[in-house]
Amino acid sequence: MRVFNMTLFGWSAFPRDVPLGAPGSYPVNNKHFDPKLGQRILAEFFEQIELSEQMGFDGINCQEHHGNGAFCAFVPSTTVMAAAIAQRTSRIKIAVTGTCLPLHNPVTIAEEVAMVDHLSNGRLIWGALRGFPTEYISYAINPTESQGRFREAFDLIRKVWTTEGPFNYGGRYYSLRNYNIWPRPLQQPHPKVWMACNSMDSLDFAVETQSYVMTPWVPNKQSANVYETYHQLAAKRGVPVPEGFDEMFAGISAAYCAETDEQARAECEEHVQELFFHAMAAFDSNTTSLIPGHMSPKGLRTWLTASSGRAGQSLGFDFDEAIRGGNLIVGSPKTCIELIRRQRTEGKKGTMLSMFQFGTLPHKLAMKSIGLFGREVIPALREDATLRLSPAHG
């Protein structure tokens, strides 16, 4: 079982003048961006990243967000951030989880990922996702083309990494003439690929392309379903499950470790609430969900029926339910170990992408939690034979 510190680079002073999820809440007005605070947030995150490496974490991951669409996160370019992390660490894996493919020139993505692969001495894992529909509005990319662009960009990026000598590419959305990549990636044939899967379609595409899978913010039970479905689809297609799949099968959570269960909850609860409030607003707002092409007509109709009672209100968040479901790992080291064991046994996860800083958590507490987790939880996980998985190559 591997643990990654999922760095959000979230904004710690979220403005409240426009309710999140309400019409007009995206993008968050950048008059709220305080450059000095930005510097402090970056510095604190890098301290947490360095501590995570010292404390034996397996990796760091970061993700792309635009216009403060989610958590007011700081990172519109994951490769820039991954390059920075590469220079501040030496052993730990670095995962981009991931790039919003349809928003960019795929060749630029392929080139930058190859560069960061070298800059990190082959420690990079690359993740592909579609991004929030609001981001398509900002970038003026037709959201009804999202899936087509995603698939084509993904295909092109892998061709760019693996094709020897200049080649032409004639796609529907992207074309290349007499191109070959320089530098080629350090890891051959290319860095391992994580694909974000939250629908049958995306899962089937992951199977088809033999990608590793990361599930979005879902309970253990649902992540186990995704795991099973992947294997069923692979059997149906007659394609092999990639080596090391179990270890690479990843899910997202938030984690906070303190001396006792009571203390852990007392110290982090309001900040976890804040995180969920942002996450719900980003994923579940009317304006986001109604962007054409984001959901199938049937899916959107179902969503509208389900949410009509709420009439635009954010979903409530139940702390205990989130712990039971596996989205939250909060407690004493002993409790954390138990909850992580359930990530494996109930959720089938082999890699835990876990936020140790949710946004508003004081830096001091984040450092304390990472330290304690590293001292008492990680060694116990390593000693646990039931959590030992055969590693993916590289």
């Binding site: 019409p23 007009g24 037709n142 304006t287």
Partner: protein, 265 residues
């Protein structure tokens, strides 16, 4: 009697409604499709044979893979007219349908008898100032299409979000596919309009909040043979909102276009 039919051409199948007698008249719907056989159809069917197709991607009409913009739609529209063997129909288009009609008139002007454009999209004075219909408070949508969004018909054309059915959601995605970017306009259509040498009428709801009535003059300046009528009190959908102010202009124009053609003959 109104018939609902399907015509097949070149790997496509379009659904259309037909009723009435007399010269053929083709009616092209706007951004969200046509909820059914509507009073404006009926009014025209008293004098003409009205054909009201669902454009490609809307209400069960198929959309080929290569369809991405309104030029493509006009290509399909030519095939639709040919498949039905319509003899130089009058062509009326509202909003997005007006755009499709104009594209067709540019490259096949001789295939239609007259052209009526009602609050057409396709030419924009400044698209950056137009409200975003694909990302906005969905509750504000009806107000962009009707000056008075409280009239019952407004709800049928643009329902409030929690009443969106699969039909409306599908039609909305069909529009997004065509007009999301460039947003509600073509960078080329305005330049080419001078080739649409066919008697044309521009009708515009003077209170159109989606694409302002100031655009009517822009169309008039570019089309070679056109007149303009503003519909007082109406928003983007004048034929539904103010039919008695709108439809007589349309009927009178089409009758006149037919008559002047007879004189020429």
């Amino acid at each position: 009697m109104v018939e609902t039919l399907v015509v097949r051409f070149n790997n496509s199948a379009w659904s259309y409604q037909r009723a009435g007698q007399g010269q053929p008249l083709v009616w092209l719907h706007g951004l969200w499709g046509e909820p059914g056989w509507e009073p404006h159809h009926q009014r025209l069917a008293e004098r003409y044979t009205v054909y009201a197709p669902a454009l490609a991607g809307y209400d069960g009409s198929t959309a080929p893979d290569w369809l991405t913009d309104m030029e493509d739609m006009a290509t399909l529209l030519v095939e639709f007219l040919e498949a039905l063997e319509l003899d130089r129909p009058h062509l009326v288009g509202h909003s997005l349908g007006g755009w499709a009609a104009a594209e067709l008139a540019v490259f096949r002007p001789s295939s239609i008898r007259s052209l009526v454009l009602i609050d057409p999209l396709g030419v924009a004075l400044d698209w950056t100032k137009m409200p975003n219909i694909f990302y906005n408070d969905p509750k504000s949508l009806p107000g962009l299409f009707f000056a008075d969004a409280t009239i019952p018909a407004a709800r049928r054309y643009v329902p409030p979000p929690f009443e969106w059915d699969e039909r409306f959601i599908t039609n909305r995605a069909a529009s997004a596919r065509l007009v999301f970017e460039p947003y509600l306009h073509s960078r080329k259509l305005g330049v080419r309009l001078r080739f649409a040498n066919v008697p044309a009428l521009i009708l515009w709801g003077e209170r159109d909040a989606l694409i302002s009535a100031a655009h009517a003059e822009e169309w008039a300046a570019r089309l070679p043979n056109t007149e303009v009528k503003l519909v007082q009190g109406a928003g983007h959908t004048p034929h539904v909102e103010c039919p008695d102010a709108c439809m007589p202009h349309l009927l009178e124009f089409i009758a006149r276009a037919t008559k002047s053609e007879e004189v020429l003959v």
